[in-house]
Amino acid sequence: MARTLTINDQEISAAEGQTLLEAARDAGIYIPTLCHLDGLTDVGACRLCLVEIVGSNKLMPACTTRVQEGMVVYTDTPRLRAYRRQIVELLFAERNHVCAVCVANGNCELQNMGIVVGMDHVRYDYLFPKLGVDLSHERFGMDHNRCILCTRCVRACDQIEGAHTLDVLGRGAHSMIVHDMNVPWGEATTCTSCGKCVMACPTGALFKQGSTVAEMVHNAEKLAFLRAARERRVWNV
């Protein structure tokens, strides 16, 4: 059954059960995201897609909020714009993102999001944490300095490959993406070396070994293609 709602003063029709993000995108309304990836379930982790819903004093993530009849939603208010820029700045401050020497320079969703939110500098103190680079896998590498903990790799490994090699250890800013029971990637016996985690990564955190600056292109859209092919037998996208 269709639901009618208002986004940014525009009346739109959405299917029952659709998320606000899906409904907005169908209507051509852009909502920024980092942890969302077509083909994976949504977790509402990055908070970039927060929207204002009239009648609610809480901001809600568009990726995990279902449409309701008569909802009145705003996706691009001064308050939301200010929070989004803060979120992106905090991501840059939390780990060591150095675009100039990154494999994903020019192909990075975090770098692009900096432009979207108008970040010309970071107002917070950089934390400069000491983090490692795991090069123990024969084909891929993981640079924790560039990880934003979006968990797209974790979900791709679990939901599309079905291996669940990856998971999250710890809490908050100290969280780390780990392989198996926190062993080096090359020693993770459940890893099938399929590379779907590398495809899913929005930044330069996961990469093919041998990539140098600006060479890493992830092809994240291939994951949605795989899912559609398996579940709906759709092979042309």
């Binding site: 150095v98 675009c99 970071v122 000491k130």
Partner: protein
């Protein structure tokens, strides 16, 4: 004719790539030279940072004691301080030493641990400036008025900013052309 704009550029903890990109302004540099007087720059032989500067472009992070002293003079003597390029804006490559620890750890790593012949940390009081504990973006030390990201900022971006300033306007730092880091 009105007085020329007093323009300065400085090279702190960076690779000079931002100044190279500045030189990529090519023939527009002639137009710029008509409008400004260069009162301090790594490409001019001027020893001391002057007073009453209108605009100063600062390339590089604050990485040693010389930078630290100079940036305070720059701030005091400049109407507009511009963080020029990623090292000034974020710390960038210059700040990649920070996660390793403070200056002593970094210096031993570079000059002792990785050396086989005569490992020693360079020192000469009054000549080799000691490193600061961390390399920091300029705005972590003094207030900054304008930020030009990029490693280096493309010449077109630099021109966009300078042209706006010459016309007495504040440059619009929006979109990929003006804001992309790296």
């Amino acid at each position: 004719m009105s007085e020329k704009i007093r323009f300065a550029s400085v090279w702190l903890g960076g690779c000079s790539g931002c100044h190279m990109s500045f030189l990529d302004l090519d023939e527009w540099l002639f137009d710029l030279a008509q409008a400004v007087e260069v009162v301090y720059s790594p490409v001019a032989d001027i020893k001391a940072f002057p007073e009453n500067v209108d605009v100063t472009l600062v390339e590089g992070a604050i990485a040693n004691q010389d930078h630290l002293e100079l940036i305070h003079t720059i701030r005091k003597n400049s109407k507009l301080v511009v963080s020029f390029g990623d090292c000034a804006v974020t710390g960038n490559v210059t700040a990649m030493r920070n996660p390793l620890g403070e200056a002593d750890v970094v210096l031993s790593r570079a000059y002792q641990d990785a050396q086989f012949l005569n490992p020693q940390i360079p020192h000469d009081d009054g000549i080799v400036p000691p490193l600061t504990a961390q390399a920091l973006p300029v705005h972590a030390v003094v207030p900054v008025d304008l930020y030009i990201p990029g490693c280096p900022p493309p010449a077109k971006r630099i021109r966009g900013v300078l042209q706006a300033l010459l016309e007495g306007q504040s440059p619009e730092m929006i979109g990929r052309e003006m804001l992309k880091f790296g």
